[in-house]
Amino acid sequence: MIELHVILILMIIVAVMAIEIEDLLSSIIALGAVGMGLSLQFLLLKAPDLAITQLVVEILSLIILIKATVGTGIPIKKEKMSLAYLCFGVLFIAIFLGLGLKAVKELPAFGYPLMKMGSQYIAEAVKRTGATNIVAAIILDFRGYDTLGEATILFTSVIGVLAVLRKTGKIK
Protein backbone atom coordinates (compact mmCIF):
# COMPACT_ATOMS: atom_id res chain seq x y z
CA MET A 1 0.00 0.00 0.00
CA ILE A 2 2.91 2.35 0.65
CA GLU A 3 3.91 2.45 -3.04
CA LEU A 4 0.38 3.51 -3.97
CA HIS A 5 0.63 6.50 -1.66
CA VAL A 6 4.10 7.43 -2.91
CA ILE A 7 2.91 7.38 -6.54
CA LEU A 8 -0.21 9.32 -5.59
CA ILE A 9 1.79 12.08 -3.89
CA LEU A 10 4.19 12.26 -6.85
CA MET A 11 1.21 12.51 -9.21
CA ILE A 12 -0.23 15.42 -7.23
CA ILE A 13 3.13 17.23 -7.23
CA VAL A 14 3.56 16.73 -10.99
CA ALA A 15 -0.02 17.85 -11.65
CA VAL A 16 0.59 21.08 -9.75
CA MET A 17 3.82 21.51 -11.73
CA ALA A 18 1.91 21.05 -14.99
CA ILE A 19 -0.30 24.01 -14.10
CA GLU A 20 2.47 26.26 -12.83
CA ILE A 21 5.21 25.73 -15.46
CA GLU A 22 5.44 28.58 -17.99
CA ASP A 23 6.72 26.47 -20.89
CA LEU A 24 3.93 24.71 -22.79
CA LEU A 25 5.94 21.62 -23.80
CA SER A 26 7.16 20.98 -20.25
CA SER A 27 3.62 21.37 -19.02
CA ILE A 28 2.36 18.73 -21.46
CA ILE A 29 5.14 16.33 -20.49
CA ALA A 30 4.27 16.80 -16.82
CA LEU A 31 0.68 15.95 -17.72
CA GLY A 32 1.96 12.78 -19.38
CA ALA A 33 3.81 11.88 -16.18
CA VAL A 34 0.52 12.09 -14.29
CA GLY A 35 -1.02 9.64 -16.74
CA MET A 36 1.91 7.24 -16.42
CA GLY A 37 1.53 7.36 -12.63
CA LEU A 38 -2.15 6.53 -13.02
CA SER A 39 -1.25 3.59 -15.26
CA LEU A 40 1.17 2.29 -12.61
CA GLN A 41 -1.55 2.68 -9.99
CA PHE A 42 -3.91 0.53 -12.05
CA LEU A 43 -1.19 -2.08 -12.44
CA LEU A 44 -0.54 -2.17 -8.69
CA LEU A 45 -4.27 -2.46 -8.03
CA LYS A 46 -4.31 -5.54 -10.31
CA ALA A 47 -6.28 -4.02 -13.17
CA PRO A 48 -4.05 -4.76 -16.19
CA ASP A 49 -6.81 -4.01 -18.72
CA LEU A 50 -7.13 -0.47 -17.45
CA ALA A 51 -3.34 -0.11 -17.16
CA ILE A 52 -2.79 -1.00 -20.84
CA THR A 53 -5.61 1.25 -22.02
CA GLN A 54 -4.50 4.15 -19.84
CA LEU A 55 -0.90 3.81 -21.04
CA VAL A 56 -1.68 3.81 -24.77
CA VAL A 57 -4.34 6.51 -24.53
CA GLU A 58 -1.91 8.65 -22.54
CA ILE A 59 0.72 8.31 -25.27
CA LEU A 60 -1.81 9.16 -27.97
CA SER A 61 -3.20 12.16 -26.10
CA LEU A 62 0.35 13.37 -25.45
CA ILE A 63 1.11 13.28 -29.18
CA ILE A 64 -2.18 15.00 -30.03
CA LEU A 65 -1.63 17.69 -27.38
CA ILE A 66 1.90 18.39 -28.62
CA LYS A 67 0.64 18.49 -32.22
CA ALA A 68 -2.21 20.82 -31.27
CA THR A 69 -0.32 23.30 -29.12
CA VAL A 70 3.45 23.38 -29.63
CA GLY A 71 4.68 25.30 -32.65
CA THR A 72 1.25 26.61 -33.68
CA GLY A 73 1.97 30.00 -32.14
CA ILE A 74 -1.01 30.01 -29.82
CA PRO A 75 -0.24 32.67 -27.22
CA ILE A 76 -0.43 31.72 -23.56
CA LYS A 77 -1.93 34.19 -21.18
CA LYS A 78 -1.21 33.85 -17.50
CA GLU A 79 -3.34 35.94 -15.21
CA LYS A 80 -2.58 36.46 -11.57
CA MET A 81 -5.28 35.17 -9.31
CA SER A 82 -6.90 37.77 -7.11
CA LEU A 83 -7.15 37.25 -3.35
CA ALA A 84 -10.95 36.95 -3.35
CA TYR A 85 -10.85 34.15 -5.94
CA LEU A 86 -8.14 32.36 -3.97
CA CYS A 87 -10.13 32.54 -0.73
CA PHE A 88 -13.26 31.31 -2.50
CA GLY A 89 -11.34 28.44 -4.08
CA VAL A 90 -9.79 27.32 -0.80
CA LEU A 91 -13.16 27.52 0.95
CA PHE A 92 -14.83 25.48 -1.79
CA ILE A 93 -12.15 22.80 -1.70
CA ALA A 94 -12.39 22.63 2.11
CA ILE A 95 -16.16 22.13 2.00
CA PHE A 96 -15.85 19.58 -0.81
CA LEU A 97 -13.15 17.58 0.99
CA GLY A 98 -15.10 17.65 4.26
CA LEU A 99 -18.26 16.30 2.64
CA GLY A 100 -16.21 13.80 0.63
CA LEU A 101 -14.60 12.47 3.80
CA LYS A 102 -18.03 12.01 5.34
CA ALA A 103 -19.17 10.09 2.27
CA VAL A 104 -16.05 7.91 2.10
CA LYS A 105 -16.57 6.77 5.69
CA GLU A 106 -19.85 5.15 4.63
CA LEU A 107 -18.18 3.01 1.95
CA PRO A 108 -17.10 -0.59 2.55
CA ALA A 109 -13.42 -1.19 3.29
CA PHE A 110 -10.91 -0.90 0.44
CA GLY A 111 -10.94 -3.92 -1.85
CA TYR A 112 -13.63 -5.72 0.11
CA PRO A 113 -16.07 -7.40 -2.29
CA LEU A 114 -19.54 -6.67 -1.08
CA MET A 115 -21.54 -6.09 -4.24
CA LYS A 116 -24.17 -8.71 -4.99
CA MET A 117 -24.04 -8.04 -8.73
CA GLY A 118 -20.24 -8.23 -8.88
CA SER A 119 -20.01 -11.58 -7.10
CA GLN A 120 -22.64 -12.92 -9.50
CA TYR A 121 -20.55 -11.81 -12.49
CA ILE A 122 -17.38 -13.34 -11.06
CA ALA A 123 -19.10 -16.65 -10.38
CA GLU A 124 -20.84 -17.04 -13.73
CA ALA A 125 -18.84 -15.09 -16.31
CA VAL A 126 -16.76 -17.97 -17.69
CA LYS A 127 -19.67 -20.39 -17.73
CA ARG A 128 -22.14 -18.06 -19.42
CA THR A 129 -19.93 -16.23 -21.92
CA GLY A 130 -16.92 -18.51 -22.48
CA ALA A 131 -14.52 -15.57 -22.16
CA THR A 132 -11.70 -16.05 -19.67
CA ASN A 133 -10.97 -12.32 -19.46
CA ILE A 134 -13.77 -11.31 -17.14
CA VAL A 135 -13.44 -7.62 -18.01
CA ALA A 136 -14.19 -8.36 -21.66
CA ALA A 137 -17.06 -10.60 -20.60
CA ILE A 138 -18.62 -7.78 -18.59
CA ILE A 139 -18.09 -4.82 -20.92
CA LEU A 140 -19.06 -6.64 -24.12
CA ASP A 141 -21.68 -9.13 -22.96
CA PHE A 142 -23.37 -8.30 -19.67
CA ARG A 143 -22.97 -4.54 -20.11
CA GLY A 144 -23.07 -4.26 -23.89
CA TYR A 145 -25.34 -1.23 -23.69
CA ASP A 146 -22.69 0.76 -21.85
CA THR A 147 -20.10 -0.02 -24.49
CA LEU A 148 -22.54 0.99 -27.21
CA GLY A 149 -23.00 4.33 -25.45
CA GLU A 150 -19.25 4.73 -25.14
CA ALA A 151 -18.81 4.03 -28.85
CA THR A 152 -21.47 6.64 -29.60
CA ILE A 153 -19.66 9.20 -27.47
CA LEU A 154 -16.41 8.50 -29.31
CA PHE A 155 -18.16 8.78 -32.68
CA THR A 156 -19.72 12.12 -31.70
CA SER A 157 -16.43 13.51 -30.44
CA VAL A 158 -14.62 12.48 -33.64
CA ILE A 159 -17.33 14.15 -35.72
CA GLY A 160 -16.98 17.27 -33.56
CA VAL A 161 -13.21 17.45 -34.03
CA LEU A 162 -13.46 16.87 -37.78
CA ALA A 163 -16.21 19.50 -38.11
CA VAL A 164 -14.05 22.09 -36.36
CA LEU A 165 -10.84 21.26 -38.21
CA ARG A 166 -12.15 20.43 -41.71
CA LYS A 167 -10.90 22.28 -44.72
CA THR A 168 -13.59 21.73 -47.36
CA GLY A 169 -16.97 23.36 -47.27
CA LYS A 170 -15.93 26.14 -44.94
CA ILE A 171 -17.51 29.54 -45.54
CA LYS A 172 -14.79 32.13 -45.76
Binding site: D49, A51, V57, I59, G130, A131, L140, V158, L162
Partner: protein, 150 residues
Protein backbone atom coordinates in the same frame (compact mmCIF):
# COMPACT_ATOMS: atom_id res chain seq x y z
CA UNK B 1 10.65 20.60 -52.52
CA UNK B 2 12.42 19.64 -49.35
CA UNK B 3 12.36 16.16 -47.92
CA UNK B 4 9.49 15.45 -45.58
CA UNK B 5 9.68 13.76 -42.22
CA UNK B 6 12.45 13.24 -39.75
CA UNK B 7 16.10 12.22 -40.14
CA UNK B 8 17.46 9.05 -41.76
CA UNK B 9 18.05 7.34 -38.40
CA UNK B 10 14.45 7.79 -37.34
CA UNK B 11 13.21 6.50 -40.69
CA UNK B 12 15.36 3.36 -40.58
CA UNK B 13 14.31 2.50 -37.03
CA UNK B 14 10.67 3.23 -37.82
CA UNK B 15 10.76 0.71 -40.66
CA UNK B 16 11.78 -1.99 -38.16
CA UNK B 17 9.57 -1.03 -35.22
CA UNK B 18 6.33 -0.08 -36.92
CA UNK B 19 5.47 -3.62 -37.98
CA UNK B 20 6.23 -4.91 -34.47
CA UNK B 21 3.90 -2.32 -32.94
CA UNK B 22 1.23 -3.26 -35.46
CA UNK B 23 1.59 -6.98 -34.66
CA UNK B 24 1.42 -6.29 -30.93
CA UNK B 25 -1.80 -4.37 -31.50
CA UNK B 26 -3.27 -7.28 -33.43
CA UNK B 27 -2.25 -9.66 -30.64
CA UNK B 28 -3.86 -7.47 -27.96
CA UNK B 29 -6.98 -7.20 -30.10
CA UNK B 30 -7.45 -10.89 -30.94
CA UNK B 31 -6.72 -12.10 -27.42
CA UNK B 32 -9.02 -9.53 -25.84
CA UNK B 33 -11.35 -12.20 -24.47
CA UNK B 34 -8.52 -14.34 -23.08
CA UNK B 35 -5.92 -11.93 -21.66
CA UNK B 36 -5.93 -8.28 -20.60
CA UNK B 37 -6.42 -5.89 -23.48
CA UNK B 38 -9.26 -5.88 -25.94
CA UNK B 39 -10.64 -3.83 -28.77
CA UNK B 40 -10.06 -0.41 -27.28
CA UNK B 41 -6.41 -0.92 -26.33
CA UNK B 42 -5.64 -2.83 -29.54
CA UNK B 43 -7.29 -0.12 -31.64
CA UNK B 44 -5.27 2.61 -29.97
CA UNK B 45 -2.01 0.66 -30.43
CA UNK B 46 -2.68 0.11 -34.14
CA UNK B 47 -3.63 3.78 -34.55
CA UNK B 48 -0.34 4.63 -32.81
CA UNK B 49 1.58 2.52 -35.33
CA UNK B 50 0.11 4.59 -38.17
CA UNK B 51 0.79 7.80 -36.23
CA UNK B 52 4.38 6.58 -35.89
CA UNK B 53 4.54 6.42 -39.70
CA UNK B 54 3.05 9.90 -40.05
CA UNK B 55 5.54 11.38 -37.59
CA UNK B 56 8.57 9.70 -39.16
CA UNK B 57 7.83 9.96 -42.88
CA UNK B 58 5.58 13.01 -43.07
CA UNK B 59 1.87 12.95 -43.68
CA UNK B 60 1.95 12.42 -47.45
CA UNK B 61 3.59 9.00 -47.51
CA UNK B 62 1.48 7.69 -44.65
CA UNK B 63 -1.75 8.98 -46.16
CA UNK B 64 -0.93 7.11 -49.35
CA UNK B 65 -1.20 3.88 -47.36
CA UNK B 66 -4.37 4.85 -45.53
CA UNK B 67 -6.25 7.83 -46.90
CA UNK B 68 -8.61 10.09 -45.01
CA UNK B 69 -11.71 8.83 -46.81
CA UNK B 70 -10.75 5.22 -46.09
CA UNK B 71 -10.37 6.05 -42.40
CA UNK B 72 -13.84 7.52 -42.18
CA UNK B 73 -15.34 4.54 -44.03
CA UNK B 74 -13.56 2.12 -41.66
CA UNK B 75 -14.83 3.98 -38.62
CA UNK B 76 -18.41 3.93 -39.85
CA UNK B 77 -18.07 0.22 -40.65
CA UNK B 78 -16.95 -0.40 -37.08
CA UNK B 79 -19.99 1.41 -35.70
CA UNK B 80 -22.38 -0.43 -38.00
CA UNK B 81 -20.74 -3.76 -37.20
CA UNK B 82 -21.23 -3.17 -33.48
CA UNK B 83 -24.89 -2.35 -34.02
CA UNK B 84 -25.24 -5.40 -36.27
CA UNK B 85 -23.78 -7.70 -33.62
CA UNK B 86 -26.13 -6.17 -31.04
CA UNK B 87 -29.11 -6.70 -33.33
CA UNK B 88 -27.97 -10.29 -33.96
CA UNK B 89 -29.14 -10.98 -30.42
CA UNK B 90 -32.75 -10.74 -31.57
CA UNK B 91 -32.24 -14.13 -33.26
CA UNK B 92 -32.26 -15.72 -29.83
CA UNK B 93 -34.33 -13.28 -27.83
CA UNK B 94 -33.10 -9.85 -26.86
CA UNK B 95 -30.63 -7.08 -27.71
CA UNK B 96 -26.95 -8.00 -27.11
CA UNK B 97 -27.70 -11.67 -26.47
CA UNK B 98 -24.67 -13.90 -26.99
CA UNK B 99 -26.21 -16.13 -29.66
CA UNK B 100 -23.06 -17.58 -31.20
CA UNK B 101 -21.52 -20.84 -29.88
CA UNK B 102 -19.34 -20.29 -26.84
CA UNK B 103 -16.60 -22.83 -27.53
CA UNK B 104 -14.11 -24.07 -24.97
CA UNK B 105 -12.57 -21.54 -22.56
CA UNK B 106 -8.99 -20.46 -23.44
CA UNK B 107 -9.54 -21.21 -27.15
CA UNK B 108 -8.83 -18.36 -29.55
CA UNK B 109 -12.21 -18.82 -31.25
CA UNK B 110 -14.45 -18.93 -28.24
CA UNK B 111 -16.87 -16.76 -26.29
CA UNK B 112 -19.32 -16.03 -29.11
CA UNK B 113 -19.92 -12.38 -29.92
CA UNK B 114 -17.23 -10.98 -27.61
CA UNK B 115 -14.43 -11.45 -30.13
CA UNK B 116 -16.52 -9.91 -32.92
CA UNK B 117 -17.43 -7.00 -30.64
CA UNK B 118 -13.73 -6.50 -29.94
CA UNK B 119 -13.01 -6.32 -33.67
CA UNK B 120 -15.86 -3.83 -34.19
CA UNK B 121 -14.60 -1.62 -31.37
CA UNK B 122 -11.07 -1.89 -32.75
CA UNK B 123 -12.22 -0.59 -36.16
CA UNK B 124 -14.14 2.22 -34.52
CA UNK B 125 -11.55 3.35 -31.97
CA UNK B 126 -8.49 2.92 -34.18
CA UNK B 127 -9.97 4.74 -37.15
CA UNK B 128 -11.58 7.43 -35.00
CA UNK B 129 -8.45 8.35 -33.09
CA UNK B 130 -6.29 8.17 -36.21
CA UNK B 131 -8.67 10.50 -38.04
CA UNK B 132 -8.44 13.02 -35.18
CA UNK B 133 -4.66 12.92 -35.47
CA UNK B 134 -4.81 13.24 -39.27
CA UNK B 135 -7.13 16.23 -38.97
CA UNK B 136 -4.67 17.90 -36.62
CA UNK B 137 -1.73 17.07 -38.88
CA UNK B 138 -3.41 18.48 -41.99
CA UNK B 139 -4.89 21.47 -40.21
CA UNK B 140 -2.81 24.64 -40.30
CA UNK B 141 -3.33 27.84 -38.42
CA UNK B 142 -4.00 30.86 -40.65
CA UNK B 143 -0.87 32.51 -39.22
CA UNK B 144 1.25 29.58 -40.42
CA UNK B 145 0.00 29.93 -44.01
CA UNK B 146 0.88 33.60 -43.95
CA UNK B 147 4.38 32.83 -42.70
CA UNK B 148 4.98 30.41 -45.58
CA UNK B 149 3.70 32.84 -48.20
CA UNK B 150 6.02 35.62 -47.02
Amino acid sequence: MKERGMSLIVKRITKITVSLIFLFGVYILLHGHLTPGGGFAGGVIIALSFIHLVLAFGKESALRRLSEAAVSVIESCGGLMFWGIALLGFMGGYFFLNVLPKGRPFDLFSSGIIMLCNIAIFLKVGAGLFSIFIALAIFRMPSEDKREND
